[in-house]
């Protein structure tokens, strides 16, 4: 069982799995930025009542699983997604799919992922990879984070598929049900849908912890961290913010650069000059997120300790919120012109 499979390395695992898997199933036009944009991947949320590794729960992207789901739905590709309570059935279902010559994607936990360096192995359960074949007891894995195809024994794969804790994958297996050719007209419509949904999420998400207002909320929180948490804890919190923003998977700048790339590629389908201009604005906010990360690193390295330094950090986020609000407003206006 060793089907021809073209491995694709991507910045983010779910984008990568979506793009690579759909390529295999016939959607040649798809790229990582297009999948991210059509799946309305850009987001911001700070969940104050939740902790991740003892730090703040912050995300720069939409919920796990949504990019694949939305992209397939927009492009009218039927998918199958299944969870298992029995390990045996989970293995059997995967083997059957491989035996029929088709790859399938799995959601896995990274804590026991053997080819990841120890430094990256946290109990994070929403990693995605594609199983492309099986040789004796070894599964061939196309993991978008890796440069080439790797392998896992059946024991290792089972362990990561049945990792437990938050977002436990429960053996989750998913794949497009059939090969589909997607027309450029479908791509055009999917891009519009993706943009409009992303505008909605960033500008009009309810409450004050998500979207643009979430960035502002975080800015205000950061300014208070030094007093409420103390120096040591606020250092850890800021380090966590930077990790969520820059760690493997984001493409840099909290996914803003990927989104800017998406708008550039969208221009090929919708030649409206505003898209290029708004793309530049997202490049700019991505750069600002990175400047903010440098400021944060000054604090968590222990070089900056004054309240003024935390204020500067907060102000970066307020500036970003303002710029992204402007960019998304303009994007909303532009989306009305697309058809």
């Amino acid at each position: 069982m060793k089907p021809e499979y073209e491995h694709l390395q991507a910045a983010h695992c779910e984008n990568g799995v979506t793009t690579s898997l759909l390529h295999h199933y016939g959607v040649q036009q798809l790229t990582e930025p297009l999948a991210f944009g059509i799946g309305s991947g850009l987001f911001f949320i700070y969940i104050p009542f939740m902790k991740v590794n003892d730090g703040p729960a912050i995300s720069f992207r939409t919920m796990p699983g949504m990019i694949f789901k939305r992209t397939c739905k927009s492009l009218n590709i039927p998918i199958l997604r299944k969870k298992f309570s029995s390990r045996e059935n989970a293995r059997q279902a995967l083997d059957n799919r491989l035996q029929s010559g088709h790859p399938a994607a799995c959601q896995v936990g990274v804590f026991y992922l053997p080819y990841f360096p120890k430094e990256y192995r946290f109990h994070f359960n929403a990693h995605n990879l594609i199983v492309v074949g099986k040789e004796a007891d070894n599964y061939l894995i196309s993991d978008p984070i890796m440069e080439t195809i790797t392998t896992m024994t059946s024991y290792e794969l089972e362990r990561v598929r049945f990792a437990r804790g938050p977002l436990a994958p429960r053996g989750q297996l998913y794949f497009p049900k059939e090969k589909r050719v997607v027309t450029n007209e479908q791509m055009k419509q999917a891009i519009i849908t993706g943009i409009k949904r992303n505008v909605r999420h960033m500008l009009y998400a309810p409450g004050n912890i998500a979207g643009i207002s979430g960035i502002r909320y975080t800015a205000k929180k950061i300014k208070k961290w030094r007093d409420t948490l103390g120096l040591e804890k606020s250092r850890s919190y800021l380090a966590q913010l930077v990790r969520m923003q820059e760690e493997i998977g984001t493409g840099g700048g909290g996914f803003r650069f990927i989104y800017a790339a998406f708008l550039q590629q969208a221009y090929a389908y919708h030649p409206v000059d505003e898209l290029l201009d708004i793309s530049k604005q997202f490049t700019q906010t991505g750069d600002l997120w990175r400047d903010a990360a440098v400021q944060a690193s000054g604090i968590y390295k222990g070089r900056l300790t004054a309240q003024a330094d935390y204020n500067t950090m907060g102000d970066y986020l307020l500036d970003i919120a303002e710029l992204e609000k402007k960019a998304f407003r303009q994007l909303a206006e532009t989306a009305k012109k697309l058809h």
């Binding site: 390395q9 991507a10 910045a11 990582e32 930025p33 590794n53 003892d54 730090g55 804590f111 026991y112 080819y115 990841f116 360096p117 120890k118 430094e119 990256y120 192995r121 946290f122 109990h123 984070i145 890796m146 440069e147 437990r164 804790g165 938050p166 436990a168 250092r235 850890s236 380090a239 966590q240 930077v242 990790r243 820059e246 760690e247 493997i248 493409g251 840099g252 700048g253 650069f257 990927i258 800017a260 790339a261 550039q264 590629q265 530049k280 490049t283 991505g286 750069d287 990175r290 990360a293 440098v294 944060a296 690193s297 968590y300 390295k301």
Partner: protein, 137 residues
């Protein structure tokens, strides 16, 4: 970010893989290039691991002082918390909390100890003796 600004600092990943970064080329078009890492986020990861090491050391001291059972040490060592440990062992959270007490832990059945040992990927023998496992993983 401009192409020439893509950081190439030696990160934890650099022996394993390089990561895809998005940046603009001289004409303002987006391209992707591989990056070995960025000093700013490498340091952020160091901070996270520093916190973990401190928690592990604290837990170990508590176990040695007989203020907590060895479960606490291994829970911290394996980056778990009570909800995660409860999910792996299928014990209730309140049960895990109880088992963190040295007195309760000592009376645990072999079967229950085995569940914890499996969750931590160690042997029951190792689980019972924190000192045996100086270096951890």
């Amino acid at each position: 970010m401009k192409k020439e600004d893509i950081p190439q600092d030696p990160g934890a990943l650099h022996n394993v893989t390089k990561e895809v970064s998005y940046a603009i080329d001289e004409n303002g078009n987006y391209i992707t290039e591989l990056s070995t890492g960025w000093e700013v986020k490498i340091k952020a990861l160091d901070v996270a691991w520093g916190d973990i090491e401190k928690k592990v050391a604290d837990a170990k001291q508590k176990v040695l002082n007989n203020e907590a059972s060895p479960l606490l040490y291994f829970m911290e060592l394996k980056l778990m918390d009570i909800p995660i440990l409860s999910a792996y062992t299928r014990f209730w959270k309140w049960q895990v909390k109880r088992h963190l007490k040295p007195g309760v832990f000592e009376k645990l059945s072999a079967k229950k100890l085995q569940k914890y040992a499996t969750a931590f990927d160690i042997t029951v023998e190792e689980l019972k003796n924190v000192n045996l496992n100086e270096t951890g993983v």
